[in-house]
Symmetry: C2
Subunit: 376 residues, 2 copies
């Protein structure tokens, strides 16, 4: 049997539990996850072309990795030769949604028959590809496997943790460098460009930057100037190969006010205190409740908010702390933890960190620049 770059036994169990005969994955992140990092480099960011959109497929019949297939476009041939993947059957006569779907439908019919239950990613499958699948497999049942794939990815391997650490350090470093680029008249739109450039110089793909110059609560980059005496938060996302980090740091042009300092100190206190709950065995409910309790013990609780959510290839994946379930944290899960205060005269004070669950507790990834970034 083929050796797969993910937990094959876990996938088998999840598919069986869901009654899925074959998985047919099309999102960039899950194609990368299931192939072990492969994606057509040309279409990774430029998906649109001509009258359609590029769509690849990874197909995996339940329990039969030797019957797995990949469908892509003819331009991928040399890249796949240079970076071979484990999947035995490579079909490059697809490309756009309907073409790839036609090839995938034929391969699925051969492997699991015309009446199978097929797990697809409905939020990431373009309608033209879905129509083509339905037309070619009129007796198949299509069910959404998005959450099943979140579950498959819930526990990160040491390699994945190394990538997430590199992304977190790169995003935190890019943010710190961006604060230092401040000058009179700099707009939040310019700051956003600097973040993107600082990420690119660290090999990180820019995803977003919230640039909030207090006391305004406008977080979208705009023509607003970061003035002397104002705080600014940079809440930024970046990724490498679909592994993302989401980090927020706080700066000030000149000394922050006493009130701003209090709010930042409360953020840090909560962000630090909650970490003792980040360890294998803590339930999602315990973590969420501990965060709420710690928040309510703080002087400015009434304008504060605490949130924790899983992060990896998707923001808000497992562990889904918001569900407040009795499910327990496990080593290899990764969290985004955030504390914020919205104060009408100071602005939006926020610290957000990436924290991994380790066998003995936690690891703060990208823990640099959490102190005030004071610039001129």
């Amino acid at each position: 049997m083929a050796t797969v770059p993910f937990d094959g036994a876990k996938l088998g169990g999840l598919l069986e539990e869901a009654g899925i005969d074959a998985l047919l994955v099309s999102s960039r992140h899950n194609v990368r996850y299931l192939t072990g990092g492969y994606y057509d480099h040309f279409h990774a960011l430029a998906t649109r072309g001509g009258s359609g959109q590029y769509v690849p497929f990874v197909g995996i019949p339940r329990g039969r990795f030797d019957a797995a297939f990949y469908v892509g476009g003819m331009g991928e041939k040399r890249q796949l030769e240079a970076m071979p993947i484990w999947i035995p059957a490579i079909h490059l006569n697809g490309g756009n949604g309907p073409n790839s779907a036609r090839v995938a439908a034929s391969l699925l019919k051969d492997r699991v028959g015309p009446n199978a239950t097929i797990g697809v990613e409905l939020p990431f499958l373009p309608a033209d590809a879905f129509q083509s699948l339905q037309r070619d497999l009129p007796h198949a049942r299509f069910v959404d496997a998005t959450d099943l794939l979140h579950e498959l990815r819930a526990i990160k391997t040491p390699d994945e943790l190394a990538t997430l650490r590199r992304v977190a350090e790169g995003v935190a470093g890019a943010i710190q460098a961006t604060f230092r680029a401040a000058h009179d008249g700099i707009t939040t739109r310019e700051l956003s460009s600097v973040v993107a450039y600082q990420m690119a110089s660290r090999g990180i793909e820019f995803l977003w930057s919230f640039t909030c110059a207090g006391p305004s609560f406008l977080r979208a980059p705009s023509s607003m100037v970061w003035e002397r005496g104002q705080i600014l938060h940079l809440d930024c996302g970046g990724e490498i190969g679909d592994y993302l980090a989401d980090i927020c740091r706080l700066g000030s042009r000149g000394e922050p006010s006493a009130l701003a300092r209090e709010l930042h100190a409360e953020c840090l206190q909560l962000q630090n205190d909650i970490r003792k709950f980040v360890r294998p065995g803590t339930t999602y409910r315990e973590l969420a409740e501990a965060g709420e309790e710690a928040l309510h013990a703080l002087p400015h609780a009434e304008i504060g908010r605490f949130v924790a959510h899983g992060i990896g290839m998707v923001s808000h994946e497992q562990p889904m702390i918001a569900t407040r379930s009795d499910r327990r944290l496990e080593a290899g899960m990764v969290l985004s933890i955030e504390t914020e205060f919205l104060h009408p005269s100071v602005g939006h004070v926020k610290i957000e960190d990436v924290v991994a669950v380790t066998p003995n507790g936690y690891e703060g990834m990208g823990d640099i620049g959490r102190e005030w970034q004071i610039v001129e």
Copy 2:
């Protein structure tokens, strides 16, 4: 009636011709086109989150711009306040595909009734959103409007041309700077990172880089080293607000061979000669045939290829030269023009330019670095 940032009369005509009662657009580029540049900054690159994908909608009932609507997520409120759009009805109770679709279906029912023909972008509409639309509007007919939107965008305004010029110059400049970063042992993967960084430093969003070190034809960035004595082409895409440029330049570590020089000279000759056909009134067929004829007059024609295609918000949009129709070029159309030779002992020699049709002829956008980029 609302003033719209596109040719409203042309859109009305196209919708009437297609029998479409309302347009419902969801792709990032067409949302930007129809709103005049707006898109949720948080989700422009990070579309995935939780169990779904972010999907906004712009809805336009035919001929009734005052009844147009926008559907997005609640996080967009402050950005829309800071950067108002012309659309009168803003609904921010959508977000992911099914939520946005539910809101859009209700608005469409109010405006065009339950039996209308709705123009959607099937390649850019996620299946979960499409299922929701079909469920809520069971008597509506959904048709693909992707090509209609290409047609709407075919003639670029002066502002759009200015953006395309800025992108082309930025991409060409980034490529030139990347050649200069060469050093012993540099891999094509590192060169690709440098291109991304050089684009970001120019305010350009990186899309792709083909990095082909001859005599290999592997164009995907990899661990392959660009050795002394080898040519390298950098065929790169970048964008600003969904307006893209696609440019290829040629470098050599040390002096290129006489044969490499001949192939490059033939590329440039064809690229230059074909420009006299780029003017209002030339038919698509004439341009394609002139390119073929010019290619066949060159010494290495048998290993050469000439291609021209429209470019703007999408690669391979109008003018669709490949159709070889009798349609004529018009001022404001923009072309990507490429000539290449694949030689087994030299490698992949290629020059690609962005050329706009002007009232009197053509404008080469980003025409820098077309000569050999010779580095150590």
